[in-house]
Symmetry: C2
Subunit: 324 residues, 2 copies
């Protein structure tokens, strides 16, 4: 029998990532198409189906090679019904039947899952968490997302809201307002946006000095990357900000680990590219607040799949469904 | 075929609870024997085996009626190897082969599990969490224990330390020392011991007034029950203490729910007998710190099985193992 391929799809607000992936979780071909949000998002699945067909023609491969499509999408998903409950920025109305739509266009088995969960599954299958049956993934990007795997399965919870690690409350009193309606969420501190906000608070409150303050004075803004770059060079203000982010992340992750004792907690997303300066500081705080048996057994690591985690995790859904 | 019974055993430091339980999780007969910790705990399993035989004789029932023994034991357990890793106060040496020992004495299938997890399984099978596939149980007793069930299965974690909810850090700075070696653990606040400590801090620090202070002045001590009883009667100091306990519990449980979105969080143990005065205050804090989709779907409830949760959950292990 010739090699079988799974299609992994990672649907984003502006770009849709696609990949042909083998049964070992290796990406053989990957490409991107723009996400067309117009007309209530009615072109999204048609474009994906066409993109798969075109790529097969380009590669001179038969459709029979494909055994299914796994797809990650933003927002809450009812994966048993195959429905996206609500995603404002894709144009879809509530309860969009994503699985059925893509299946009817391609005649392939389709599995769908929340995109943060797909990233966690990707890291479990083939990334930093490789082989771990208990894994927590935290994606530090514009916001903070999360995926929780226990006993080898995604934990979705009763309302699909498990893994909302970004909305763990880090500051019970006086925290910054969060998009979710609460205040003091981890996302208001440990996301790229949160780090920039913390920095800007410093510039407005104090007679800020040093390299980071200079960048702000020159450009009128700083990025999360600026903060880590300056901290790496010893800038005091930047170091203080990294300490604050690392405290809240380490504290929240220790309490998650006191509850779940996962084999690994994987940090991904743009902010995690800061690397060891962030990881080491988070680890230090984690050790302080983790129960001894947890401290000894749960390890923190940086994600290794980068932007590919989503398509790989999506493909895993098919591998898992077909038990292959 | 006549009715089949499962033996549920809940091993405690001073007393061992036993029960014959049917396949619907109903207790038919229950009794207790003292736990004999002498001689490195070598009599514990023999006493259990003998107690089962004697009870069968007393009931004029045949051993063939029994299909297995499920047993909860304190401390960390390797349930695949059937070994209790370490339990100081039972006399056993590390890695005591509990499953093998009890099986060789009774010739019945034996399954073992941590006792807090058994309580959670009991509430899932037949108690407050009946039918829930995602459930968190918190036992507020002398200490604070926890059991986490996700997708219908106990979450043990990589080192068996999942569910250590009592060792979630509630006060990152300046908290009271905990037996675990950390400080500021939830257990130092929301256990019976913790509540008494909080009260005593008030008596020593301030010019304490009111009913609770009077009890302390008369008896030289107060109990957690005194605190709730006085709060119910409007005593200001007692109300303040209940508020503090409820804040830390509600905050911790909201953050657990932001991560796991369980259908139910069940509060059990002696402190939970305070009832609605505690539950309502915890719910109020929970609502404040839970993500909206979690707030709408995760409910908090008092445990309903009381001291029977352990033996019922232990029996569930056999039901689950035999898939009956």
């Amino acid at each position: 029998m010739s090699e079988q391929w799974i299609v992994g799809v990672d649907l984003g607000g502006t770009t849709t990532k696609l990949a042909f992936i083998n049964l070992n979780g290796e990406i053989l071909h990957k490409w991107e198409i723009p996400t067309d949000n117009s007309d209530e998002g009615q072109n999204i699945t048609t474009n994906i189906a066409n993109a798969i067909d075109s790529k097969l023609v380009e590669l001179k491969e038969q459709k029979a090679k494909l055994i299914g499509i796994g797809m990650g999408a933003p927002g809450p998903i009812d994966n048993e019904k195959g429905v996206v409950l609500n995603v404002v920025n894709l144009g879809w109305k509530d309860n969009f039947p994503l699985q059925e739509s893509l299946h009817s266009l391609t005649d392939l088995p389709v599995e769908i899952e929340n995109d943060a969960n797909c990233a966690a599954l990707g890291e479990m299958w083939d990334g930093a968490g490789s082989g771990a049956r208990d894994l927590v993934c935290v994606t530090l990007g514009t916001g903070v997302g999360g995926g929780v795997i226990a006993n080898g399965n995604i934990v979705r919870g009763i309302n699909g809201a498990a893994g909302e690690i970004g909305h763990i409350t880090s500051k019970p009193f006086g925290g910054a307002p969060c998009n979710c309606g609460k205040s003091g969420c981890l996302e208001t501190i440990a996301s790229a946006t949160g780090i920039v906000r913390l920095a800007e608070d410093e510039f407005s409150n104090a007679e800020a000095k040093g390299q980071l303050a200079l960048i702000f004075a020159e450009n009128g803004r700083v990025t999360a990357k600026d903060v880590f770059d300056c901290a790496r060079k010893g800038d005091e203000l930047a170091k203080k900000l990294v300490d604050e982010v690392a405290f809240h992340l380490g504290f929240a992750l220790a309490n998650i680990a006191n509850t779940l004792n996962p084999e690994k907690i994987v940090l991904g997303g743009g902010v995690s590219r800061a690397g060891d300066i962030l990881l080491d500081a988070v680890k230090e705080n984690f050790s302080m607040y983790a129960f001894s048996a947890v401290r000894e057994s749960t390890t923190l690591a940086l994600a290794t799949l980068g932007n590919d985690a989503g398509v790989i995790g999506a493909a895993w859904l098919i591998k898992n469904k077909l038990s292959i």
